[in-house]
């Protein structure tokens, strides 16, 4: 819309030049208020008390979308996942400490290292089944997408197990002489990442959390049972998947775990897109 002057506006309204001049004179003569600097200072002073306090970096972080999303999901996730994970890992840690004979000196593989990936994988496998039926409704009711929501939940469960695992490792290093923290952490972190990725992918691909956790669990148990079999049949050595706990394959395990998560989220996105189109 073109900005008009009063004169243009009045001309449009069929005011005569004399009338235009009259109106303009009238408006020009209108009394103006007096600007009192004292009042202006008083206003400024009153406003200062209402000035928002500058946010600290921590406050900005807390108010950010990722933190808010994670916080919202903590309260929604099944309480049993937290409780079962904490209980099993705590018991595993106690058992490891109570049975030093089961942990030969010099090794970096403990009972605790065997339990951490297992617990995490089972917890992760349950994530999708909880919301799979209401994913579209959740998407419609919130500003987030299904894959992002599931990624937030995965982050929480994985993060919880990771924290527990780190704390447990510190305790083990404290009690067992000659054990280094970094190799100990890597001994469970690499298989945990892979098994979580696998369980997560399978839970979405099959839409069956029991099957997903069962396959991951079986894979890990078979590996644990057969990993120390020397001179076994070649096929048995293959079934044992020795790479799951070999230090040299840890980077590959972590990478493939991350890729499985990415593939699972992509799969979910494709599925939701198809469902949306059907509606």
């Amino acid at each position: 819309v073109k900005k008009q002057s009063l004169e243009e506006r009045l001309s449009e309204e069929d005011f005569s030049p004399a009338e235009i001049e009259g109106i303009e004179n009238l408006l020009r003569q209108a009394p103006a208020p007096h600007v009192r600097p004292a009042h202006q200072a008083q206003v400024l002073n009153a406003m200062t008390s209402l000035l928002p306090q500058p946010e600290t970096r921590l406050e900005r972080l807390q108010a950010g979308y990722p933190v808010q999303l994670l916080y919202s999901q903590i309260r929604i996730l099944r309480r049993e996942i937290w409780q079962a994970s904490a209980l099993v890992l705590a018991l595993g840690l106690l058992a490891t400490l109570a049975l030093p004979a089961a942990n030969p000196a010099g090794t970096d593989f403990f009972l605790f290292s065997a339990l951490a990936p297992l617990v995490a994988a089972v917890g992760v496998a349950l994530l999708y089944s909880d919301i799979s039926r209401s994913m579209l409704e959740i998407e419609a009711a919130t500003r987030t997408t299904g894959p992002v929501l599931l990624l937030a939940r995965l982050t929480l469960v994985f993060g919880f197990n990771l924290t527990f695992g780190l704390a447990g490792s510190v305790v083990l290093v404290f009690f067992f002489n000659g054990i280094s923290l970094a190799p100990l952490i890597l001994s469970w972190l690499a298989p945990m990442t892979f098994l979580c990725g696998l369980a997560f992918f399978l839970s979405i691909a099959t839409s069956d959390s029991l099957l997903a956790s069962g396959i991951s669990l079986l894979l890990w148990l078979v590996h644990l049972l057969l990993r120390n079999l020397d001179g076994a049949e070649i096929w048995l050595q293959w079934v044992a998947l020795p790479g799951l706990s070999q230090p040299s394959s840890r980077p590959l395990l972590m990478l493939s775990g991350s890729l499985l998560v990415a593939a699972a989220l992509w799969l979910l996105d494709v599925r939701l897109h198809r469902e949306r189109n059907l509606l």
Binding site: Q29, P31, Q42, V43, T48
Partner: protein, 180 residues
């Protein structure tokens, strides 16, 4: 000094200099706007300006810096002015400033006498206009705002702004003709 929107964003972050700059920029125009709508009452206009700025501070968190600041601020001012004027039953414009309150500002008695009559006439004429027409004329002429922005400030369609402006100006013309 940045744009209004940048300064408002600064206020949101708790920047005192931005707040000061906005007050310096808008104190006088808002005072004029309030003065005009309050019927030339200096004290009431000052109260309205103070209330406008305080409400601005309380609501600054909800302001979106991607949108123009001026209509947002004037919408607050207009809301306050309209409520106050309505409450005071649109006090007649003859309620001129209490000159004894600001003795240093007002002209000397001789000068005042010369100007008094003319001003009284203007004040009376403008005061006869309905408040809704008065505010549109004020924003259009004194605040030099485009009609589209006036529509945003008042929360009315552009066509309504045009018609109020038209009726207001025609009414002024009619009153001037009667005077003659």
């Amino acid at each position: 000094m940045g744009s209004d929107e940048t300064l408002a964003a600064g206020v949101q972050q708790g920047n005192q200099a931005s707040m000061q700059a906005l007050v310096e920029r808008y104190y006088e125009p808002l005072l004029r706007f309030s003065f005009w709508l309050s019927g030339g009452n200096q004290a009431q206009a000052e109260d309205m300006v103070q209330e406008t700025f305080l409400r601005m501070m309380r609501g600054i968190g909800g302001y979106d810096p991607a949108r123009p600041f001026k209509p947002w601020l004037y919408a607050i001012a207009e809301h306050i002015a309209f409520n106050q004027v309505q409450q005071a039953k649109a006090r007649p414009l003859l309620d001129l400033p209490d000159e004894t309150a600001y003795p240093d500002h007002f002209p000397q008695p001789e000068e005042q006498a010369e100007r008094g009559e003319a001003r009284q006439f203007v004040v009376t004429e403008l005061g006869q206009l309905p408040l809704r027409q008065r505010e549109v004329i004020e924003l259009f002429y004194y605040e030099d705002l485009p009609q589209k922005e006036i529509a945003e400030i008042l929360g009315i369609p552009l066509g309504t702004v045009k018609s109020r402006l038209s009726f207001g100006l025609k009414q002024l013309r009619a009153r001037m003709e009667v005077k003659r």
